[in-house]
């Protein structure tokens, strides 16, 4: 297995620089790999697979090209694009993973997540998340007109921006105790996630592994920190502009 993992691109039409950086990254960093993972928030907003613009079409084509070259391509939902569904997966040749995905390689158990569900100190967000991610809400939203959905997405973004401006950095990070609990419950050794935009490699002392690791990937606003995973190990690497 030779994998590359990225997250939090927040692609949107009015940020062509990020789209181009993503294409450049894919041209040079995916050669020879067998698995490609996008761990959430590929898009800044996603209002349903039935909504398509030239921009979305372009991204789908980019992803299609990738999946034609790489055996296994996966994505996970982020808090921005949790409405991505089967149609999108089919159109791009990517497979949708569960929010909490585990696998083993060379005796190490891996856990992949977007990460937002571990920000448990942010009770306001956790409550909103419970509603937003419920099947009932999804169905309700996807049943509305495109115009309604675009408006709703805009409102949600504004509410989130207002709410987050008051929150401490600690609240908006994943809760360390929750990470420990989850990694011990799933008996995992290496946890890779995004969401917080705080790239770093953390070492954890867990009951089953005193040298467990948590890899946090960055967003694509500045230098990009992504993960490579192969038989030699797991690394957090940087893709930066000159």
């Amino acid at each position: 297995m030779k994998a590359v993992l990225i997250s939090d691109l927040h692609l949107e039409e009015n940020r062509p620089d990020i789209t181009q950086a993503f294409e450049k990254f894919c041209e040079h960093h995916l050669e020879g790999i067998t698995h490609f993972f996008i761990l959430g928030d590929l898009f800044e907003v996603w209002i349903g697979d039935d909504y398509e613009t030239d921009f979305i079409k372009h991204i789908k084509n980019v992803l299609k090209k990738i999946s034609a070259q790489i055996d296994e391509c996966y994505f996970q939902h982020g808090n921005r694009d949790f409405l991505m569904g089967k149609q999108f997966a089919q159109e791009t040749g990517f497979q949708l993973l569960d929010d909490q995905y585990t696998f083993s390689l060379n005796g190490q158990n891996y856990l992949l997540m977007h990460g937002d569900s571990l920000c448990t100190l942010d009770t306001e967000y956790m409550q909103a998340r419970m509603l937003l991610r419920s099947e009932g809400f999804k169905e309700n939203v996807l049943g509305r007109s495109i115009e309604d959905r675009l408006l709703l997405a805009q409102q949600l973004r504004n509410t989130s921006k207002d709410a987050n401006s008051d929150k401490s950095m600690e609240i908006m990070d994943v809760t360390p105790e929750e990470v420990v609990k989850l990694m011990e419950a799933t008996k995992t050794d290496i946890f890779i996630h995004g969401h917080t935009h705080r790239p770093q490699v953390h070492t954890l002392h867990l009951s089953h592994n005193a040298n467990a690791k948590r890899f946090v990937m960055s967003d694509w606003e500045k230098d990009v920190q992504y993960v490579t995973l192969n038989n030699k190990g797991t690394e957090l690497l940087t893709f930066s502009k000159p």
Partner: protein, 164 residues
């Protein structure tokens, strides 16, 4: 103004655009004249993207620089194959001595707006001779060196930079 970079892969000749990028060219000229680039390396080489140099010695020590300059990326020059531009940190106006030569069309490095995300990278000239040398450099084998990635395994050295 023309500048040659005499490297251990051959000579690259650059034509600098002092009309469209006056401050950047003046800055580059100062570093050429004070000998800053002599003995520095291309320390970051990514085929299909760019080759970056002018800041490190072969033992990967960063050389001291003059004050950072204003970013002239809004001058209309584009990051196309064979163009030379200033490297910088995430701050748009932080370029000092390091530069890069685009070895592909890198549209995402162009100026789009006067914002931290949109400033882009200031192009100030182009390679007019020695693209074969650039191509030879972009193809060298690279690896990690400390915190640095994409570092040529065998140093690509600028022996001497001269104004001609």
């Amino acid at each position: 103004m023309k500048v040659t970079l005499d490297t251990n892969h051959g000579t690259i000749t650059l034509l600098l655009d002092s009309e469209k990028a006056p401050k950047t060219v003046e800055n580059f000229k100062t570093y050429v004249e004070n000998g800053h680039y002599d003995g520095t390396i291309f320390h970051r080489v990514i085929d299909g993207f760019m080759i970056q140099g002018g800041g490190f010695t072969p033992d990967m020590k960063q050389k001291g620089t003059l004050a950072p300059i204003e970013n002239e990326a809004d001058n209309g020059l584009k990051n196309t194959l064979g163009s030379i531009a200033m490297a910088r940190t995430n701050d748009p106006h932080s370029a000092t001595a390091q530069f890069f030569i685009n070895v592909a069309d890198n549209g995402f490095l162009n100026h789009t707006s006067p914002s931290p995300q949109g400033w882009g990278y200031a192009v100030f000239g182009e390679v007019i001779d020695g693209m074969d040398v650039v191509n030879s450099i972009k193809s060298v084998s690279t690896g990690n060196n400390g915190v640095h990635q994409d570092v040529p395994k065998e140093s690509v050295v600028i022996n001497k930079a001269s104004i001609i």
